[in-house]
Each structure stands twice: as structure tokens, then as C-alpha cells.
Symmetry: C2
Subunit: 358 residues, 2 copies
């Protein structure tokens, strides 16, 4: 009987392997205590495998052992969360042994989390946790049911009387409604800053900002006419402009400027990160623009643009900053090192969350 | 000025392309009204590209046009959600132009959704939608903070008095806590069956079932000692065995048998899908087992095992079915065509949801 069980067990294992033609399960990425990282990939047939990531200036070649496992250990990396991918001969792939994927509509890289010696602001810490809810709303503007994510802070009590301010937080161009949580860790950043008393408890709404093939201005209408009413009908929300913020990155940073600055009666906080503004909507709104700066400066409690010096949009953003200042708008800027990255997105958001609703 | 803007715009586009070394955005998969599907992939360098998927008996070669876009259109496929991947020379990849990924800890395939001529039970329909919440609980058993997803049904009102029964629903071996929603569409299936009056409104808790490197029995302890108390402290829950069900697929199907049948005082519904049972815990629980069948049959309102005839676990599951029947347990079986697939998982769950809490 024992022998039969043993044979059965082997057959089952064989079945599992045969079923999915799976390569062996290997550990990748393996982050070491000194913050160096070992990447591994299995292929007997590949001629060349390398790892490419936003912690590297150039791809690093991996070497193959006799069992067909390619690997390389890269020197210590500054603690943060980085996207990376493998190049296998001419093909770019995500790391098949890594659970965590960069939520995106196009090529989805893997992400590696290098913890700090002390917990970072985006780390899962031993503090009360807010809740992320996946919701669906009917967009009358876009004629469809669309997804959005809602972060409610720790202690949010739907049975209570406390109402919260709301940040509407928009992802980048080919990202999805999940990118701000899965890559940007907006929920953990908020949890930690709220626990430290550095941010006010707030609701964060993360909509899906891409509208295709319709033109971009529809998303401004969608957020004003559909998303805000949905949120205010379903959550305990302070429904005045001083309790409403909009922020976003890249294409979402451009959307933030369009949404926020044309609706200063609705948003007292407009926080744009590395905005991409080469759009018809931006041109229409701001290329021949004579704002009532005094009125806008009274309505806006905070208008910020954040940008990194090696961001490929740096020159364009500098011009927009000059343009807004030229129109006499009170504009605060945050200029940091680095590129057009989600490492910087976390930094921008960490800054914003400490400024809002105070 | 217009010329300068135009040049700036071109520079920006170039920047975007250069930044990420991105291939052109192409549409893939494209599902046609007749349920045929066109797959596309861009590579100038690949020698051979094919598509492999659970709607195909063998990989299908794609052909390259002069611009480097490989494509193939496969004949009409039965409406459902299928995992698929591309083989580029010797490398297996997810479809880089498809947003939707099979949530898994190892190789992550893409998924394609072929809608029915009428909406399917797993389709987003125009009915009230429940809410999926991403939560974190402290596991004293496992000594860490772990994720879980909670589906609350449409109309769930934390301020109200209605309490709900709970289904604990466990994923397969290398899946994640997201696989039942992202691939299994448990939320839409529940929304639709509840709207049709075919399922009772219920809460569905989807934990992360993998425990490594610890031995498997820890997850049984975790669900009983940590997850159930967390859920019952945070949701309006009917906290008796007649209002508690456990179900799961593959490795999770084996966990379901271990969890459910050793805790019939806690679970009156035990629904196991294609269980993988070659584990120490299963052996310990059931290889030399003398249950009090009369008592268990009184406690269990429903004990089901579902399996497909071409599932690689079919023979093993048949033996377990015979073993449980031999022990005089009342066991209902559902045997369907097909393999060890998430297409069948949706079918099993659809069946279960209509049987629970009635």
C-alpha cells in the first residue's frame, strides 16, 4: 500500500509538471541583507540572458550553471521598489518566479522591493491598515461601467459620523487603476503617515484614467460628473472644495492640471507630478489663457508641480512652471534627482499627503 | 509658436519612446464578433512566434508582416475566459499588449475573455455590484501580517443589522489571493447569481493559502484561529457552522478537505474542486481514518467534490471519492468534461454558490 501511495504520488507530481510544462521553481529575486540582489532564470536553450532594471544604468549579463539556471548578483541597491525585466536573447520578459508585476496595459515588468534597514514610508509596517476596495461605477459620460479603487483610512467607520476629505489620485499613461497601490503603495504610505500623525486621515480614490478611443477631455467630465458623485454617495465625505484634492503622474499629471485648474471651485488642492501636457486638452485650456489669478489663488490652498531633473519631461515641465508663474498663480514646486519613475512617484505622494487638508 | 509647440510635441513623443524602448502599441488580443481571436506580437528579431492557450490543443504559429508584427487569427472559440501565452523562439511570454494577467506566483499567462452572445454568469453585467476589499490581518499562527480579499454582496450595509453567511474560498497551489477574482471572477459570478435570485447574498473571503516554507497544516490553523476571528470581528457575519462554507481548487481543494472535514463543527458546507491530496496533512488526516459518519453527516449540510474527466487528478480524485463514500459520508459529486482549468473552476463555483446556505 505504501509503495502504491508512493507511485501515485510520483504520478501526481509528473502530472503537475507535464500539465503546465513548468520550469523548476526557483527563487528570484532574492534580496540579501546587504541590499544586493540575486536574479535567477531557468533556460537550457537561451544563448544570452540579462537583467535590466531602474536600479541599473545598463543591463547586466547573467551566467548559466550546468543545470540551466542563469543568475547574477548585483551590488547593493538603495532601498526602494524598482521595476525590472529580463532579456532572454531578443525577448523581454517579466521574471516568471516573481509574484509581483507592474500593473500596466503594455509590457508588464516585475517589481523588486528592497527593504530599508529601518522600515520605509511605503513598507508594510505594524500600524493600523486602511482598506482598499475595488468598486464599479456607471459612467454616464463614457457610457460604460468602469472600475475604481477606494482607500479608506484606518478607523473609517461607515456607521459613524466622521466625514473625510478625498484625494483623487490618477495613474500614468499606460498604467491602470491598480498602479498607485501595486507599484506606488499609496495605501501603505497613507497608513504610515497617518499613524505617525503626519497626514490627515483621508479617502484616496484611484480611478482608471485612460479613455480610448475617445478624446481625453472626456475623463475630466467623467471625474467631475460621475466619479465625484459616486464617491460622495457611497462614502462619508466632506463635499466641499477645501476637502477635495486631485493629483496624478505623467499623463495623469497632465490630467490633474486640466481637471484641477479648470475646476478650482471644486478642488482646492492640485498636485501634478511630472505632467505630460502635449495633449489637445491642455493646449485648449492653457495655450491662450487669461486666468483670474487673484480668484484662483484664493480658491487654491495648494498648487504644486513635482519633477525630477533627469525626467525626460523636465524641460517641458520647466516651461509649464514658468507659464503658470507668469500668469501669477501661486505655485509650489518640488524638484528632486532621478527620472520619470515610480520611485519618484512615491516621493511626490509622500510629500503631498503631508500637505493636504491642513 | 505653433511650430515650436509642434517640435516640442515630437520631442516629447521621442522621449517617451526612447525612455522605455517600447515597441509599438498594438491591439492584442482582438476578439471578433464570431468569437474568433486575433493575436498580435511585435518583433523584428524573432525567428518563430506561436500562441499557446487553453482553447487550443496545440500551439499555433503566427506569421510576420513587413513591419515586424506577428499575428494569427484562431477559429471561433467557446465563450469563456482562457489563459494563453506566446512562445517567442524558445521563450514563453505573456502578451505584452494585454492588460489582464493570470495572478500567479510563477509564470503569469495572459487571459482572454470571449464574451457570449448573451452575457455569461462571470461577465460584468448591469446588476448591482458587490465590493472587493483588500485587507491585512495579523496571523498569530504564522507570525506575520497576511493579505486577504473580502467580497461583500450588493446591499451589504455595515450600518445595518443584516448579518451574512460566509464562504471561505481558497485558490490553487501557485495562485494568489487575487486569482479567484482576477481569473475566477468570483465577484461577478456572485453579483449575477444574487441578482437572479439563484444565490443567497453572502460574504466571500479569499485568503492567501500558500504557506512556505512552513508545513501545510499551519494554514488550517491560520484559517480557523486567525482568519475566521478577523472576519467575524470586522464584518456583519452569521457566526455559526450552518452559515460557514469552505471551498477551494487543486491544492486549495485539498486544503478544503483538511480544513472542512476536521472542523465539521465549524463548517456545514465543504466544497472541494479537483483536490490535490498528495500531502502529509491529508495523509495524516485521512489515511487511517475512522470517522463518526452519522455525526458528520448531521453536521454537514453539503459535502461536494467536483472534478473534470480529463483533469490530471481525475484518477486520484475518483479514489478519494470512493474512500469518502466507503466511510459512509454523504458526498455529492459533480463530474464535468475538460481539464484542471480555471474555466472549470468558474463552473464549480457557479454550482456551489447556488447550493450554499439554503
Amino acid at each position: 500500500m505504501k509503495r502504491i501511495l508512493h507511485i501515485l504520488f510520483l504520478l501526481l507530481l509528473t502530472g503537475f509538471a507535464a500539465m503546465a510544462q513548468r520550469p523548476p521553481a526557483i527563487s528570484s529575486p532574492e534580496v540579501h541583507p546587504d541590499h544586493s540582489i540575486t536574479f535567477r532564470y531557468f533556460s537550457r536553450k537561451a544563448q544570452k540572458v540579462s537583467v535590466s532594471g531602474e536600479f541599473l544604468t545598463a543591463p547586466v549579463a547573467m551566467t548559466k550553471d550546468t543545470s540551466g539556471i542563469w543568475s547574477v548578483t548585483v551590488p547593493p541597491v538603495k532601498p526602494d521598489i524598482y521595476p525590472y525585466s529580463f532579456w532572454v536573447d531578443t525577448v523581454q520578459i517579466a521574471d516568471p518566479n516573481n509574484t509581483y508585476i507592474f500593473a500596466n496595459e503594455r509590457f508588464k515588468r516585475s517589481i523588486v522591493d528592497i527593504p530599508g534597514d529601518k522600515p520605509l514610508v511605503h513598507s508594510l509596517q505594524n500600524v493600523p491598515h486602511g482598506k482598499i476596495s475595488y468598486r464599479y461605477y456607471k459612467s454616464t459620460t463614457l457610457g460604460t461601467t468602469r472600475p475604481l479603487l477606494v482607500y479608506t483610512p484606518p478607523g473609517y467607520d461607515p456607521t459613524g459620523k466622521t466625514k473625510y476629505p478625498v484625494l483623487y489620485l490618477i495613474h500614468g499613461g499606460s498604467d491602470t487603476e491598480e498602479t498607485w497601490t501595486k507599484v506606488g503603495r499609496a495605501n501603505f504610505i497613507a497608513d504610515n503617515l497617518i499613524a505617525q500623525g503626519k497626514a490627515k486621515p483621508m479617502i484616496i480614490v484611484m480611478p482608471y484614467g485612460n479613455v480610448r478611443p475617445s478624446p481625453m477631455p472626456d475623463f475630466t467630465k467623467d471625474i467631475v460628473n460621475d466619479i465625484i458623485p459616486y464617491v460622495e454617495a457611497n462614502y462619508l465625505v466632506q463635499a466641499d472644495s477645501k476637502s477635495r484634492a486631485v493629483a496624478g503622474f505623467s499623463v495623469g499629471g497632465g490630467q490633474t492640471l486640466n481637471i484641477g485648474l479648470t475646476n478650482t471651485d471644486k478642488f482646492a488642492y492640485v498636485c501634478s507630478y511630472a505632467p505630460f501636457t502635449a495633449t489637445d486638452e491642455f493646449k485648449k485650456n492653457f495655450s491662450d489663457w487669461s486666468p483670474n489669478a487673484d480668484q484662483m489663488n484664493k480658491q487654491l490652498k495648494l498648487f504644486t508641480i513635482s519633477i525630477a531633473t533627469e525626467d525626460f519631461l523636465y524641460e517641458s515641465v520647466k516651461q509649464n512652471i514658468a507659464m503658470f508663474k507668469d500668469k501669477k498663480l501661486n505655485l509650489e514646486t518640488l524638484v528632486v534627482p532621478g527620472g520619470h519613475t515610480w520611485m519618484n512617484c512615491k516621493l511626490y505622494l509622500t510629500n503631498t499627503l503631508q500637505q493636504l487638508f491642513k
